[in-house]
Protein backbone atom coordinates (compact mmCIF):
# COMPACT_ATOMS: atom_id res chain seq x y z
CA UNK A 1 0.00 0.00 0.00
CA UNK A 2 1.40 3.34 -0.96
CA UNK A 3 1.14 6.31 1.29
CA UNK A 4 -0.93 9.17 -0.14
CA UNK A 5 2.10 11.39 0.48
CA UNK A 6 4.09 9.58 -2.17
CA UNK A 7 1.49 10.27 -4.84
CA UNK A 8 2.13 13.36 -6.94
CA UNK A 9 -0.43 15.93 -5.87
CA UNK A 10 -2.93 17.18 -8.38
CA UNK A 11 -3.15 20.84 -9.11
CA UNK A 12 -6.30 21.34 -7.10
CA UNK A 13 -4.80 19.59 -4.10
CA UNK A 14 -1.68 21.70 -4.33
CA UNK A 15 -3.77 24.83 -4.42
CA UNK A 16 -5.69 23.69 -1.42
CA UNK A 17 -2.54 22.89 0.49
CA UNK A 18 -1.23 26.34 -0.32
CA UNK A 19 -4.42 27.88 0.97
CA UNK A 20 -4.11 26.02 4.21
CA UNK A 21 -0.57 27.21 4.70
CA UNK A 22 -1.68 30.77 4.00
CA UNK A 23 -4.40 30.37 6.52
CA UNK A 24 -1.81 29.34 9.07
CA UNK A 25 0.48 32.25 8.39
CA UNK A 26 -1.37 35.54 8.00
CA UNK A 27 1.85 37.29 6.90
CA UNK A 28 1.80 35.34 3.63
CA UNK A 29 -0.98 37.61 2.49
CA UNK A 30 -1.13 38.03 -1.31
CA UNK A 31 -1.75 41.77 -1.05
CA UNK A 32 1.18 42.20 1.28
CA UNK A 33 3.46 40.24 -1.02
CA UNK A 34 2.33 42.07 -4.15
CA UNK A 35 2.71 45.44 -2.49
CA UNK A 36 6.18 44.65 -1.18
CA UNK A 37 7.11 43.28 -4.61
CA UNK A 38 6.10 46.51 -6.35
CA UNK A 39 8.13 48.63 -3.95
CA UNK A 40 11.06 46.25 -4.21
CA UNK A 41 11.01 46.56 -7.99
CA UNK A 42 11.42 50.34 -7.65
CA UNK A 43 14.32 49.84 -5.26
CA UNK A 44 15.89 47.34 -7.63
CA UNK A 45 15.62 49.76 -10.56
CA UNK A 46 17.60 52.19 -8.47
CA UNK A 47 20.17 49.69 -7.20
CA UNK A 48 20.83 47.62 -10.31
CA UNK A 49 20.42 50.55 -12.67
CA UNK A 50 23.49 52.16 -11.17
CA UNK A 51 25.66 49.34 -12.44
CA UNK A 52 24.28 48.88 -15.94
CA UNK A 53 23.48 52.44 -16.99
CA UNK A 54 25.63 55.52 -17.43
CA UNK A 55 24.38 57.90 -14.76
CA UNK A 56 26.20 60.88 -16.25
CA UNK A 57 23.22 61.06 -18.60
CA UNK A 58 21.20 62.83 -15.89
CA UNK A 59 23.09 66.02 -16.63
CA UNK A 60 21.40 68.66 -18.74
CA UNK A 61 22.44 68.57 -22.37
CA UNK A 62 24.08 65.15 -22.17
CA UNK A 63 21.64 63.73 -24.74
CA UNK A 64 19.55 64.93 -27.70
CA UNK A 65 16.35 66.79 -26.77
CA UNK A 66 12.84 65.31 -26.60
CA UNK A 67 13.61 61.90 -28.09
CA UNK A 68 10.69 59.44 -27.75
CA UNK A 69 10.99 55.92 -26.30
CA UNK A 70 11.92 53.09 -28.70
CA UNK A 71 9.10 52.29 -31.10
CA UNK A 72 7.51 55.74 -30.96
CA UNK A 73 7.92 58.89 -32.96
CA UNK A 74 7.85 62.46 -31.68
CA UNK A 75 6.25 65.43 -33.43
CA UNK A 76 9.49 66.23 -35.23
CA UNK A 77 9.49 62.77 -36.80
CA UNK A 78 12.44 61.45 -34.79
CA UNK A 79 12.09 57.89 -33.60
CA UNK A 80 13.49 56.36 -30.43
CA UNK A 81 17.08 55.12 -30.31
CA UNK A 82 18.62 52.32 -28.29
CA UNK A 83 20.97 54.73 -26.55
CA UNK A 84 17.92 56.28 -24.84
CA UNK A 85 15.40 53.44 -24.55
CA UNK A 86 12.68 55.42 -22.78
CA UNK A 87 13.38 58.76 -24.37
CA UNK A 88 14.92 62.04 -23.27
CA UNK A 89 13.43 65.18 -21.77
CA UNK A 90 13.36 68.78 -22.97
CA UNK A 91 16.64 69.54 -21.20
CA UNK A 92 18.54 66.79 -22.97
CA UNK A 93 18.56 64.36 -20.08
CA UNK A 94 18.12 60.62 -20.48
CA UNK A 95 14.83 59.53 -18.90
CA UNK A 96 16.17 56.11 -17.83
CA UNK A 97 19.07 57.70 -15.95
CA UNK A 98 16.66 60.23 -14.41
CA UNK A 99 14.51 57.42 -13.10
CA UNK A 100 17.39 55.34 -11.79
CA UNK A 101 18.51 58.36 -9.77
CA UNK A 102 15.12 59.94 -9.07
CA UNK A 103 12.87 57.06 -8.00
CA UNK A 104 15.02 55.94 -5.04
CA UNK A 105 15.31 59.60 -3.98
CA UNK A 106 11.54 59.82 -3.75
CA UNK A 107 11.33 56.61 -1.72
CA UNK A 108 14.22 57.75 0.47
CA UNK A 109 12.42 60.95 1.49
CA UNK A 110 9.28 58.99 2.34
CA UNK A 111 11.08 56.34 4.38
CA UNK A 112 13.38 58.69 6.26
CA UNK A 113 10.58 61.13 7.12
CA UNK A 114 8.32 58.37 8.42
CA UNK A 115 11.09 56.62 10.33
CA UNK A 116 11.78 59.82 12.22
CA UNK A 117 8.08 60.58 12.55
CA UNK A 118 7.36 57.09 13.87
CA UNK A 119 10.18 57.27 16.40
CA UNK A 120 8.82 60.56 17.71
CA UNK A 121 5.33 59.05 17.70
CA UNK A 122 6.37 55.94 19.64
CA UNK A 123 8.23 58.02 22.20
CA UNK A 124 5.43 60.57 22.69
CA UNK A 125 2.63 57.99 22.52
CA UNK A 126 4.21 55.81 25.20
CA UNK A 127 5.04 58.81 27.38
CA UNK A 128 1.49 60.13 27.13
CA UNK A 129 -0.11 56.77 27.77
CA UNK A 130 2.21 55.80 30.60
CA UNK A 131 2.83 58.99 32.48
CA UNK A 132 -0.63 60.50 32.15
CA UNK A 133 -1.43 63.79 33.87
CA UNK A 134 0.12 67.00 32.59
CA UNK A 135 2.44 65.21 30.15
CA UNK A 136 -0.51 63.40 28.61
CA UNK A 137 -2.55 66.60 28.32
CA UNK A 138 0.29 68.47 26.65
CA UNK A 139 1.06 65.71 24.18
CA UNK A 140 -2.60 65.08 23.38
CA UNK A 141 -3.39 68.72 22.71
CA UNK A 142 -0.17 69.08 20.72
CA UNK A 143 -1.04 66.13 18.50
CA UNK A 144 -4.64 67.31 18.10
CA UNK A 145 -3.46 70.75 17.08
CA UNK A 146 -0.80 69.58 14.65
CA UNK A 147 -2.95 66.94 13.01
CA UNK A 148 -5.24 69.52 11.40
CA UNK A 149 -2.42 71.56 9.88
CA UNK A 150 -1.73 70.38 6.32
CA UNK A 151 2.06 69.87 6.10
CA UNK A 152 2.22 71.04 2.51
CA UNK A 153 1.18 74.61 3.35
CA UNK A 154 3.72 75.10 6.14
CA UNK A 155 6.48 73.54 4.06
CA UNK A 156 5.60 75.77 1.12
CA UNK A 157 6.25 78.78 3.33
CA UNK A 158 9.47 77.25 4.62
CA UNK A 159 10.95 76.25 1.30
CA UNK A 160 10.00 79.42 -0.52
CA UNK A 161 11.73 81.37 2.24
CA UNK A 162 14.89 79.25 2.26
CA UNK A 163 15.17 78.37 -1.39
CA UNK A 164 17.07 75.21 -2.25
CA UNK A 165 16.95 72.38 0.31
CA UNK A 166 18.63 68.99 0.36
CA UNK A 167 16.71 65.71 0.25
CA UNK A 168 17.54 64.96 3.88
CA UNK A 169 16.43 68.42 4.94
CA UNK A 170 13.12 67.95 3.14
CA UNK A 171 12.65 64.58 4.85
CA UNK A 172 13.39 66.16 8.25
CA UNK A 173 10.87 68.92 7.59
CA UNK A 174 8.18 66.45 6.56
CA UNK A 175 8.94 64.31 9.63
CA UNK A 176 7.72 67.25 11.70
CA UNK A 177 4.23 66.56 10.37
CA UNK A 178 3.88 62.79 10.38
CA UNK A 179 4.30 62.04 14.09
CA UNK A 180 0.77 63.02 15.13
CA UNK A 181 -1.26 60.01 14.01
CA UNK A 182 1.23 57.42 15.36
CA UNK A 183 1.28 59.34 18.64
CA UNK A 184 -2.50 59.27 18.92
CA UNK A 185 -2.72 55.65 17.87
CA UNK A 186 -0.05 54.43 20.29
CA UNK A 187 -1.39 56.52 23.14
CA UNK A 188 -4.85 55.00 22.71
CA UNK A 189 -3.45 51.48 22.48
CA UNK A 190 -1.19 51.95 25.52
CA UNK A 191 -4.10 53.29 27.55
CA UNK A 192 -6.21 50.25 26.74
CA UNK A 193 -3.31 47.81 27.25
CA UNK A 194 -2.50 49.27 30.63
CA UNK A 195 -5.78 47.85 31.86
CA UNK A 196 -5.14 44.40 30.42
CA UNK A 197 -4.31 41.45 32.62
CA UNK A 198 -0.84 40.69 31.38
CA UNK A 199 0.45 44.21 31.84
CA UNK A 200 -0.93 44.43 35.36
CA UNK A 201 0.59 41.02 36.04
CA UNK A 202 3.97 42.27 34.88
CA UNK A 203 3.61 45.36 37.02
CA UNK A 204 2.74 43.28 40.06
CA UNK A 205 5.72 41.04 39.51
CA UNK A 206 7.96 44.09 39.63
CA UNK A 207 8.98 44.37 36.00
CA UNK A 208 10.63 47.64 35.08
CA UNK A 209 8.75 50.23 33.04
CA UNK A 210 11.02 49.72 30.04
CA UNK A 211 10.47 45.96 30.24
CA UNK A 212 6.71 46.45 30.22
CA UNK A 213 6.92 48.94 27.37
CA UNK A 214 9.22 47.05 25.05
CA UNK A 215 8.75 43.38 25.97
CA UNK A 216 5.10 43.23 26.98
CA UNK A 217 3.36 45.94 24.96
CA UNK A 218 5.50 46.53 21.90
CA UNK A 219 5.02 43.06 20.32
CA UNK A 220 1.25 43.55 20.44
CA UNK A 221 1.58 46.90 18.75
CA UNK A 222 3.61 45.64 15.79
CA UNK A 223 0.79 45.34 13.20
CA UNK A 224 -0.52 48.79 14.17
CA UNK A 225 2.95 50.26 14.03
CA UNK A 226 3.55 48.80 10.59
CA UNK A 227 0.21 50.06 9.33
CA UNK A 228 0.83 53.48 10.75
CA UNK A 229 4.33 53.50 9.28
CA UNK A 230 3.11 52.68 5.78
CA UNK A 231 0.40 55.33 6.04
CA UNK A 232 2.96 57.94 7.01
CA UNK A 233 5.28 56.89 4.18
CA UNK A 234 2.39 57.60 1.82
CA UNK A 235 1.70 60.99 3.41
CA UNK A 236 5.38 61.89 3.31
CA UNK A 237 5.78 61.01 -0.36
CA UNK A 238 2.55 62.81 -1.29
CA UNK A 239 3.82 65.91 0.53
CA UNK A 240 7.27 65.68 -1.02
CA UNK A 241 5.85 65.24 -4.52
CA UNK A 242 3.45 68.12 -3.88
CA UNK A 243 6.33 70.41 -2.95
CA UNK A 244 8.34 69.30 -5.95
CA UNK A 245 5.46 69.84 -8.34
CA UNK A 246 5.12 73.39 -7.00
CA UNK A 247 8.75 73.89 -7.99
CA UNK A 248 10.05 73.72 -4.41
CA UNK A 249 12.14 70.95 -2.88
CA UNK A 250 15.66 70.10 -4.03
CA UNK A 251 16.47 72.02 -7.17
CA UNK A 252 19.48 70.16 -8.52
CA UNK A 253 18.76 66.57 -7.51
CA UNK A 254 16.48 64.61 -9.86
CA UNK A 255 13.28 63.44 -8.18
CA UNK A 256 10.11 62.12 -9.77
CA UNK A 257 8.11 65.18 -8.65
CA UNK A 258 10.62 67.65 -10.02
CA UNK A 259 10.65 65.88 -13.40
CA UNK A 260 6.87 66.27 -13.56
CA UNK A 261 7.20 69.94 -12.61
CA UNK A 262 9.67 70.58 -15.40
CA UNK A 263 7.51 68.68 -17.89
CA UNK A 264 4.38 70.70 -17.06
CA UNK A 265 6.28 73.97 -17.22
CA UNK A 266 7.74 73.11 -20.62
CA UNK A 267 4.27 72.36 -22.02
CA UNK A 268 4.94 68.63 -22.39
CA UNK A 269 1.21 67.92 -22.41
CA UNK A 270 0.49 70.04 -25.47
CA UNK A 271 3.63 68.92 -27.28
CA UNK A 272 2.58 65.32 -26.68
CA UNK A 273 5.85 64.48 -24.91
CA UNK A 274 3.98 61.91 -22.85
CA UNK A 275 7.05 59.97 -21.76
CA UNK A 276 8.50 63.03 -20.03
CA UNK A 277 5.70 63.38 -17.47
CA UNK A 278 4.12 59.94 -17.98
CA UNK A 279 7.01 57.75 -16.84
CA UNK A 280 7.55 59.52 -13.50
CA UNK A 281 3.77 59.53 -13.02
CA UNK A 282 3.65 55.79 -13.69
CA UNK A 283 6.46 55.10 -11.21
CA UNK A 284 4.81 57.23 -8.53
CA UNK A 285 1.60 55.33 -9.25
CA UNK A 286 3.42 52.02 -8.71
CA UNK A 287 4.89 53.30 -5.44
CA UNK A 288 1.50 54.43 -4.14
CA UNK A 289 -0.30 51.27 -5.25
CA UNK A 290 2.43 49.19 -3.61
CA UNK A 291 2.03 51.11 -0.36
CA UNK A 292 -1.75 50.76 -0.50
CA UNK A 293 -1.55 47.00 -1.07
CA UNK A 294 0.85 46.62 1.86
CA UNK A 295 -1.53 48.60 4.03
CA UNK A 296 -4.56 46.54 2.96
CA UNK A 297 -2.56 43.37 3.56
CA UNK A 298 -1.56 44.55 7.03
CA UNK A 299 -5.18 45.34 7.79
CA UNK A 300 -6.04 41.76 7.00
CA UNK A 301 -3.16 40.49 9.11
CA UNK A 302 -4.32 42.41 12.16
CA UNK A 303 -8.07 42.10 11.57
CA UNK A 304 -9.00 38.50 10.68
CA UNK A 305 -12.59 39.50 10.01
CA UNK A 306 -11.49 41.22 6.81
CA UNK A 307 -9.67 38.15 5.51
CA UNK A 308 -12.58 36.08 4.29
CA UNK A 309 -13.85 38.99 2.21
CA UNK A 310 -10.99 39.13 -0.21
Amino acid sequence: MTQPNDMPLTRAEKRQARRFRQFDNPWLNPKLIWGAGLLLSIVLIGLLGRFVWDLDLVFTGSSPLKLPPIGFENLRGQSGVAAHPIGTDGGGRDMLAMIIVGAPNTLFVGLLASLIGMSIGIFLGFSAGFLGGRVDDTIRVGADVMITIPPLLILVVFQSAFGDVSLTMMALLIAGFVWQSPTRLIRAQVLSMKQSGYVQMAQLSGASTSHIMFREMMPNLVPYLFGSFIASVTTSIVTAVGLEVLGLGPQRIPTLGRTIYEAINAGALIQNLWWWWGIPTLLLGIIFIGLLLINLGLDEVSNPRLRKLS
Binding site: V141, D144, V145, M146, I147, T148, I149, P150, P151, L152, L153, I154, V156, V157, F158, S160, A161, F162, G163, T234, T235, V238, T239, V241, G242, V245, L246, G247, L248, I260, I264, L269, I270, N272, W274, W277, G278, T281, L284, G285, F288, I289, L291, L292, L293, R305, L306, L309, S310
Partner: protein
Protein backbone atom coordinates in the same frame (compact mmCIF):
# COMPACT_ATOMS: atom_id res chain seq x y z
CA UNK B 1 -26.27 73.67 23.05
CA UNK B 2 -28.24 71.29 25.15
CA UNK B 3 -26.41 68.05 24.58
CA UNK B 4 -22.81 69.18 24.43
CA UNK B 5 -21.19 69.48 27.84
CA UNK B 6 -19.40 72.72 28.37
CA UNK B 7 -16.03 71.08 29.11
CA UNK B 8 -16.09 69.36 25.73
CA UNK B 9 -16.96 72.60 24.01
CA UNK B 10 -14.14 74.43 25.75
CA UNK B 11 -11.72 71.63 24.92
CA UNK B 12 -12.56 71.74 21.20
CA UNK B 13 -12.52 75.54 21.18
CA UNK B 14 -9.09 75.65 22.81
CA UNK B 15 -7.75 73.13 20.28
CA UNK B 16 -9.20 75.17 17.43
CA UNK B 17 -7.79 78.48 18.64
CA UNK B 18 -4.40 76.89 19.40
CA UNK B 19 -4.27 75.37 15.93
CA UNK B 20 -4.83 78.72 14.29
CA UNK B 21 -2.42 80.49 16.60
CA UNK B 22 0.37 77.94 16.22
CA UNK B 23 -0.04 77.76 12.45
CA UNK B 24 -0.02 81.55 12.17
CA UNK B 25 3.06 81.74 14.39
CA UNK B 26 4.99 79.13 12.42
CA UNK B 27 4.13 80.87 9.19
CA UNK B 28 5.36 84.14 10.66
CA UNK B 29 8.58 82.79 12.19
CA UNK B 30 9.84 80.85 9.16
CA UNK B 31 10.51 83.78 6.80
CA UNK B 32 12.21 85.64 9.66
CA UNK B 33 14.71 82.81 10.04
CA UNK B 34 15.54 82.98 6.39
CA UNK B 35 18.52 85.04 5.22
CA UNK B 36 16.38 86.44 2.40
CA UNK B 37 15.42 90.11 2.90
CA UNK B 38 12.01 90.90 1.38
CA UNK B 39 13.00 94.53 0.93
CA UNK B 40 15.95 93.46 -1.21
CA UNK B 41 13.66 91.27 -3.31
CA UNK B 42 11.39 94.26 -3.90
CA UNK B 43 14.40 96.40 -4.79
CA UNK B 44 15.62 93.68 -7.13
CA UNK B 45 12.26 93.73 -8.85
CA UNK B 46 12.52 97.51 -9.31
CA UNK B 47 16.04 97.22 -10.63
CA UNK B 48 14.94 94.54 -13.07
CA UNK B 49 12.22 96.87 -14.34
CA UNK B 50 14.22 100.06 -14.55
CA UNK B 51 17.69 98.82 -15.32
CA UNK B 52 19.26 100.61 -12.38
CA UNK B 53 18.05 102.19 -9.16
CA UNK B 54 19.53 105.36 -7.69
CA UNK B 55 19.66 105.94 -3.93
CA UNK B 56 19.20 102.23 -3.28
CA UNK B 57 20.04 102.62 0.44
CA UNK B 58 17.24 105.13 0.98
CA UNK B 59 14.79 103.07 -0.99
CA UNK B 60 15.69 99.96 1.01
CA UNK B 61 15.10 101.84 4.26
CA UNK B 62 11.79 103.15 2.97
CA UNK B 63 10.73 99.68 1.80
CA UNK B 64 11.61 98.23 5.20
CA UNK B 65 9.54 100.92 6.87
CA UNK B 66 6.62 100.24 4.52
CA UNK B 67 6.78 96.55 5.22
CA UNK B 68 7.16 97.22 8.92
CA UNK B 69 10.29 95.11 9.20
CA UNK B 70 12.34 97.87 10.80
CA UNK B 71 10.30 97.59 13.99
CA UNK B 72 11.13 95.33 16.95
CA UNK B 73 10.22 91.69 16.31
CA UNK B 74 7.73 91.42 19.14
CA UNK B 75 5.81 94.43 17.82
CA UNK B 76 5.84 92.97 14.32
CA UNK B 77 4.51 89.69 15.67
CA UNK B 78 1.53 91.20 17.48
CA UNK B 79 0.76 93.40 14.51
CA UNK B 80 0.80 90.33 12.27
CA UNK B 81 -1.39 88.23 14.57
CA UNK B 82 -3.97 90.96 15.04
CA UNK B 83 -3.93 91.50 11.27
CA UNK B 84 -4.37 87.80 10.58
CA UNK B 85 -7.46 87.71 12.78
CA UNK B 86 -9.19 90.15 10.43
CA UNK B 87 -7.59 88.68 7.30
CA UNK B 88 -5.26 91.60 6.82
CA UNK B 89 -1.98 90.27 5.45
CA UNK B 90 -0.71 93.51 4.01
CA UNK B 91 -0.08 94.23 0.36
CA UNK B 92 1.05 91.79 -2.27
CA UNK B 93 4.59 92.56 -3.38
CA UNK B 94 4.20 91.12 -6.87
CA UNK B 95 0.80 92.66 -7.62
CA UNK B 96 1.64 95.83 -5.67
CA UNK B 97 -0.45 97.54 -4.25
CA UNK B 98 -3.30 95.01 -4.24
CA UNK B 99 -4.11 93.84 -0.70
CA UNK B 100 -3.50 90.12 -0.19
CA UNK B 101 -7.02 89.74 1.16
CA UNK B 102 -8.49 90.95 -2.15
CA UNK B 103 -6.47 88.38 -4.09
CA UNK B 104 -7.58 85.64 -1.70
CA UNK B 105 -11.22 86.72 -1.82
CA UNK B 106 -11.14 86.48 -5.60
CA UNK B 107 -9.63 83.00 -5.54
CA UNK B 108 -11.57 81.53 -2.62
CA UNK B 109 -14.98 80.98 -4.28
CA UNK B 110 -13.34 78.91 -7.04
CA UNK B 111 -11.52 76.69 -4.59
CA UNK B 112 -14.51 76.28 -2.30
CA UNK B 113 -16.84 75.56 -5.20
CA UNK B 114 -14.58 72.92 -6.67
CA UNK B 115 -13.94 71.39 -3.26
CA UNK B 116 -17.53 71.18 -2.11
CA UNK B 117 -18.72 69.78 -5.43
CA UNK B 118 -16.06 67.09 -5.64
CA UNK B 119 -16.43 66.24 -1.94
CA UNK B 120 -20.16 65.71 -2.20
CA UNK B 121 -19.79 63.50 -5.26
CA UNK B 122 -17.00 61.41 -3.69
CA UNK B 123 -18.74 61.05 -0.36
CA UNK B 124 -21.90 59.79 -2.05
CA UNK B 125 -20.24 57.43 -4.54
CA UNK B 126 -17.61 56.18 -2.12
CA UNK B 127 -19.96 55.30 0.68
CA UNK B 128 -22.46 53.66 -1.62
CA UNK B 129 -19.81 51.52 -3.27
CA UNK B 130 -18.24 50.62 0.08
CA UNK B 131 -21.63 49.48 1.34
CA UNK B 132 -22.30 47.46 -1.79
CA UNK B 133 -18.99 45.67 -1.39
CA UNK B 134 -20.18 44.15 1.87
CA UNK B 135 -23.88 43.70 1.10
CA UNK B 136 -24.45 40.05 0.26
CA UNK B 137 -27.04 40.80 -2.42
CA UNK B 138 -24.99 43.14 -4.57
CA UNK B 139 -24.12 41.85 -8.04
CA UNK B 140 -20.97 39.82 -8.36
CA UNK B 141 -19.50 42.36 -10.77
CA UNK B 142 -19.56 44.99 -8.01
CA UNK B 143 -17.59 42.79 -5.66
CA UNK B 144 -14.89 42.15 -8.23
CA UNK B 145 -14.76 45.51 -9.99
CA UNK B 146 -14.70 47.84 -7.01
CA UNK B 147 -11.65 46.38 -5.24
CA UNK B 148 -9.82 46.47 -8.57
CA UNK B 149 -10.76 50.10 -9.16
CA UNK B 150 -9.80 50.97 -5.62
CA UNK B 151 -6.16 50.31 -6.30
CA UNK B 152 -6.09 53.70 -7.99
CA UNK B 153 -7.31 55.47 -4.92
CA UNK B 154 -3.90 55.56 -3.33
CA UNK B 155 -2.71 57.89 -6.07
CA UNK B 156 -2.65 61.61 -5.27
CA UNK B 157 -5.06 63.67 -7.40
CA UNK B 158 -2.25 65.47 -9.13
CA UNK B 159 -1.23 62.30 -10.96
CA UNK B 160 -4.78 61.42 -11.99
CA UNK B 161 -5.20 65.04 -13.05
CA UNK B 162 -2.19 64.83 -15.35
CA UNK B 163 -3.47 61.62 -16.89
CA UNK B 164 -7.01 62.91 -17.42
CA UNK B 165 -5.68 66.18 -18.77
CA UNK B 166 -3.57 64.37 -21.32
CA UNK B 167 -6.35 62.03 -22.45
CA UNK B 168 -9.33 64.39 -22.49
CA UNK B 169 -7.74 67.78 -23.11
CA UNK B 170 -4.58 67.22 -25.10
CA UNK B 171 -5.52 64.12 -27.10
CA UNK B 172 -9.32 64.08 -27.46
CA UNK B 173 -9.70 67.85 -26.90
CA UNK B 174 -13.10 67.38 -25.26
CA UNK B 175 -12.25 69.70 -22.41
CA UNK B 176 -10.15 72.87 -22.21
CA UNK B 177 -6.58 72.42 -21.06
CA UNK B 178 -6.39 75.16 -18.42
CA UNK B 179 -8.31 77.94 -16.72
CA UNK B 180 -11.58 78.12 -14.83
CA UNK B 181 -13.66 79.73 -17.60
CA UNK B 182 -13.23 80.69 -21.22
CA UNK B 183 -11.52 84.01 -21.86
CA UNK B 184 -14.18 84.78 -24.52
CA UNK B 185 -17.02 84.80 -21.98
CA UNK B 186 -17.84 87.79 -19.80
CA UNK B 187 -17.98 86.68 -16.12
CA UNK B 188 -21.47 87.07 -14.72
CA UNK B 189 -24.58 85.06 -14.00
CA UNK B 190 -25.27 84.22 -17.63
CA UNK B 191 -25.92 80.75 -19.02
CA UNK B 192 -22.85 80.98 -21.25
CA UNK B 193 -20.62 81.71 -18.31
CA UNK B 194 -22.04 78.96 -16.10
CA UNK B 195 -21.68 76.51 -18.98
CA UNK B 196 -18.08 77.54 -19.45
CA UNK B 197 -17.34 77.19 -15.73
CA UNK B 198 -18.84 73.70 -15.63
CA UNK B 199 -16.96 72.74 -18.76
CA UNK B 200 -13.67 73.92 -17.29
CA UNK B 201 -14.35 72.54 -13.83
CA UNK B 202 -15.26 69.04 -14.93
CA UNK B 203 -11.76 67.60 -15.31
CA UNK B 204 -10.27 69.06 -12.10
CA UNK B 205 -13.28 67.77 -10.18
CA UNK B 206 -13.10 64.38 -11.86
CA UNK B 207 -9.41 63.98 -11.10
CA UNK B 208 -10.17 64.49 -7.40
CA UNK B 209 -13.23 62.23 -7.42
CA UNK B 210 -11.47 59.35 -9.18
CA UNK B 211 -8.77 59.06 -6.55
CA UNK B 212 -10.65 59.90 -3.36
CA UNK B 213 -13.84 57.85 -3.53
CA UNK B 214 -11.89 54.73 -2.54
CA UNK B 215 -10.94 56.28 0.79
CA UNK B 216 -14.63 56.46 1.71
CA UNK B 217 -15.38 53.08 0.16
CA UNK B 218 -12.64 51.41 2.21
CA UNK B 219 -13.79 53.02 5.43
CA UNK B 220 -17.39 52.17 4.69
CA UNK B 221 -16.49 48.56 3.97
CA UNK B 222 -14.94 48.17 7.42
CA UNK B 223 -17.90 49.84 9.12
CA UNK B 224 -20.44 47.78 7.19
CA UNK B 225 -18.75 44.56 8.27
CA UNK B 226 -19.32 45.67 11.85
CA UNK B 227 -22.96 46.58 11.25
CA UNK B 228 -23.69 43.41 9.29
CA UNK B 229 -23.67 41.17 12.35
CA UNK B 230 -25.75 43.48 14.55
CA UNK B 231 -28.94 42.18 16.11
CA UNK B 232 -31.15 44.89 14.66
CA UNK B 233 -30.17 43.85 11.14
CA UNK B 234 -31.05 40.25 11.94
CA UNK B 235 -34.34 41.42 13.42
CA UNK B 236 -35.11 43.46 10.31
CA UNK B 237 -34.43 40.41 8.16
CA UNK B 238 -36.60 38.25 10.39
CA UNK B 239 -39.39 40.79 10.08
CA UNK B 240 -39.23 40.20 6.33
CA UNK B 241 -38.36 43.75 5.35
CA UNK B 242 -37.18 44.24 1.80
CA UNK B 243 -33.38 43.75 1.58
CA UNK B 244 -32.91 47.09 -0.15
CA UNK B 245 -34.79 48.83 2.63
CA UNK B 246 -32.61 47.10 5.21
CA UNK B 247 -29.48 48.17 3.34
CA UNK B 248 -30.40 51.85 3.19
CA UNK B 249 -32.32 52.41 6.40
CA UNK B 250 -30.68 49.94 8.76
CA UNK B 251 -27.16 49.30 7.61
CA UNK B 252 -25.86 52.34 5.74
CA UNK B 253 -27.56 54.77 8.06
CA UNK B 254 -25.80 53.33 11.04
CA UNK B 255 -22.48 52.64 9.41
CA UNK B 256 -22.06 56.04 7.78
CA UNK B 257 -21.72 58.08 10.99
CA UNK B 258 -18.04 57.49 11.79
CA UNK B 259 -17.29 58.39 8.18
CA UNK B 260 -18.14 61.97 9.03
CA UNK B 261 -15.36 62.13 11.62
CA UNK B 262 -13.03 60.47 9.17
CA UNK B 263 -13.83 63.38 6.91
CA UNK B 264 -12.64 65.81 9.55
CA UNK B 265 -9.25 64.11 9.74
CA UNK B 266 -8.90 63.84 5.99
CA UNK B 267 -9.88 67.35 4.98
CA UNK B 268 -6.40 68.81 5.41
CA UNK B 269 -4.91 66.34 2.94
CA UNK B 270 -7.84 66.82 0.59
CA UNK B 271 -7.36 70.56 0.44
CA UNK B 272 -3.61 70.22 -0.04
CA UNK B 273 -4.24 67.77 -2.88
CA UNK B 274 -6.71 70.10 -4.48
CA UNK B 275 -4.29 73.01 -4.33
CA UNK B 276 -1.95 70.95 -6.50
CA UNK B 277 -4.72 70.00 -8.92
CA UNK B 278 -5.54 73.68 -9.31
CA UNK B 279 -1.90 74.39 -10.01
CA UNK B 280 -1.62 71.91 -12.91
CA UNK B 281 -4.97 72.94 -14.40
CA UNK B 282 -4.12 76.63 -13.86
CA UNK B 283 -7.56 76.84 -12.23
CA UNK B 284 -8.29 80.32 -10.84
CA UNK B 285 -8.28 79.18 -7.20
CA UNK B 286 -5.98 79.30 -4.23
CA UNK B 287 -3.62 76.76 -5.79
CA UNK B 288 -2.80 78.98 -8.74
CA UNK B 289 -2.52 82.00 -6.47
CA UNK B 290 -0.09 80.10 -4.27
CA UNK B 291 1.97 78.86 -7.20
CA UNK B 292 2.23 82.31 -8.77
CA UNK B 293 3.22 83.73 -5.39
CA UNK B 294 5.97 81.12 -5.04
CA UNK B 295 7.29 82.01 -8.49
CA UNK B 296 7.34 85.72 -7.60
CA UNK B 297 8.60 85.22 -4.05
CA UNK B 298 5.52 87.10 -2.91
CA UNK B 299 5.66 86.28 0.81
CA UNK B 300 2.55 88.12 2.01
CA UNK B 301 0.47 86.12 -0.48
CA UNK B 302 2.15 82.80 0.39
CA UNK B 303 1.52 83.46 4.08
CA UNK B 304 -2.05 84.58 3.48
CA UNK B 305 -2.98 81.60 1.32
CA UNK B 306 -1.41 79.11 3.73
CA UNK B 307 -3.12 80.75 6.67
CA UNK B 308 -6.55 80.79 5.04
CA UNK B 309 -6.31 77.14 3.98
CA UNK B 310 -5.22 76.06 7.45
CA UNK B 311 -8.08 78.13 8.88
CA UNK B 312 -10.59 76.38 6.59
CA UNK B 313 -9.21 72.99 7.63
CA UNK B 314 -9.30 73.73 11.35
CA UNK B 315 -12.73 75.28 11.10
CA UNK B 316 -14.19 72.23 9.34
CA UNK B 317 -12.69 69.89 11.93
CA UNK B 318 -14.10 72.08 14.69
CA UNK B 319 -17.57 72.15 13.14
CA UNK B 320 -17.62 68.39 12.55
CA UNK B 321 -16.62 67.84 16.18
CA UNK B 322 -19.45 70.07 17.36
CA UNK B 323 -22.10 68.70 15.02
CA UNK B 324 -21.23 65.09 15.62
CA UNK B 325 -23.30 64.52 18.78
CA UNK B 326 -26.33 65.86 16.94
CA UNK B 327 -25.77 63.55 13.99
CA UNK B 328 -25.06 60.47 16.08
CA UNK B 329 -27.14 60.35 19.25
CA UNK B 330 -25.23 57.29 20.43
CA UNK B 331 -22.25 59.50 21.20
CA UNK B 332 -22.31 61.00 24.63
CA UNK B 333 -19.55 63.38 25.45
CA UNK B 334 -18.31 62.56 28.85
CA UNK B 335 -17.09 65.42 30.93
CA UNK B 336 -13.41 64.58 31.09
Amino acid sequence: MGRIPRSYLINRLVTFVLTILIAATIIWIIPRLSPVDPAEIALGRMAAGAGSVANSEEILAQLRANMGIDQPLILQYFKYISGALVFDFGLSTAAFPTPVSTLILNALPWTMGLMILSLLITFFIGNLLGALMVWDRSPKLVKVAIPAAMVFTSIPPILSGLLLMWIFSAQLQWFPLTGAYSIFVEPGWTWDFVKSVLHHGFLPALSIVVVTFGFWALGMRGLMIGVQGEDYVKLAEAKGLRPRYILYRYMIRNAILPQITAFALKIGLLIAGQVLVERIFAYNGMGKLLYDAILNQDFPVIQGVSYVIILITALSVFLVDLLYPFIDPRIRHEAT
